[in-house]
Symmetry: C2
Subunit: 107 residues, 2 copies
DNA sequence: AATATATACCTTGACAGACGAGGTATATTG
DNA sequence: CAATATACCTCGTCTGTCAAGGTATATATT
C-alpha cells in the first residue's frame, strides 16, 4: 500500500457510504473493491473497517442484516439509510473543499 | 473550522514544510498563515503544531534557531533542510496520488 | 487424508497524532 | 491596570488505526 492510513483516515466512513449508494454490500467485498479501484494503493484493514461499520450503524447511517447464503461463509450485509445518503453528500462536499484547501497549502 | 482534523491529519508535516520552502518562519506565523490561506477553514492547533515541529526536527527535515528580536516575544525560527525539501517533494507526490484515489473512491 | 488458500466474520490491546487545558513572558491598547 | 495580541511550551486525554489473534465454511493441492 502506498497511500498512508493517516491520509485516508478522515475518509473511511465516506468511502464505505459511497460503496453502498447503489447496492448493499458486505465487509469483505467492500474491502476488495477499495483495493481493486485503487490498484492496491488504498486498503482499509479489517479491524478498521469493522470499527467503522459500528460507528456508522450507531450514527444511523447504515443498517445491517445477515444474508441467507446457501453455501460458503455467512455474510453480513449493510444498507445505507436516508440519513446515510445525506451524510455522504456532506462528506463529499467537505472533501471537495478540503481538496482545494490542501492544494492551496501545499502550493 | 470546517475541515476536520482527521482530514488534515496526514498533511500536517507537508503543510509545515511547504511554508518553509521560500523562507524561514516560526510557529505563530505559520499558524496564522494556514488560517489566512484557507479563510479560517484549516487550523493546526498549537499543541499539534509544536509536536509536529519536534517530529520534523527529529527526522532532520527542519532546523531550529532562536531569532534575535529586539522587541516583543522571542521567536523560534525553523529552516527547512535539503532532506526536508526531498521529503516535501515526496509528500507532494503522495498527495497527488491520494487525491486521485480518494476521488475514485468517492465516485 | 491432510494442508493450504480463499471467503467471511469478529475482538482485544497497543500505538500515534490531535488537541483541550493549562502554563510562561513581552508589548500594546483602551 | 486590565485586556488583548504576540510568542513559546507541556501534560494528559481521546480517537481511529491496526497487528495479532480467533472462528467457520468451501475448494484446491499435495
Amino acid at each position: 500500500m502506498s497511500i498512508t492510513s493517516d491520509i485516508l483516515r478522515g475518509h473511511t466512513e465516506a468511502i464505505i457510504l459511497s460503496h453502498l449508494l447503489d447496492q448493499d454490500s458486505y465487509g469483505y467485498q467492500i474491502n476488495k473493491d477499495i483495493m481493486k479501484k485503487t490498484d492496491n494503493r488504498c486498503e482499509l484493514k479489517e479491524a478498521t473497517l469493522y470499527s467503522a461499520f459500528r460507528r456508522l450503524e450507531q450514527a444511523g447511517y447504515i443498517r445491517a442484516y445477515w444474508g441467507n447464503e446457501k453455501v460458503g461463509a455467512r455474510r453480513r450485509y449493510y444498507a445505507i439509510t436516508e440519513e446515510g445518503r445525506g451524510a455522504y453528500q456532506s462528506y463529499k462536499r467537505d472533501w471537495e473543499e478540503a481538496k482545494n484547501d490542501i492544494d492551496r497549502l501545499l502550493k
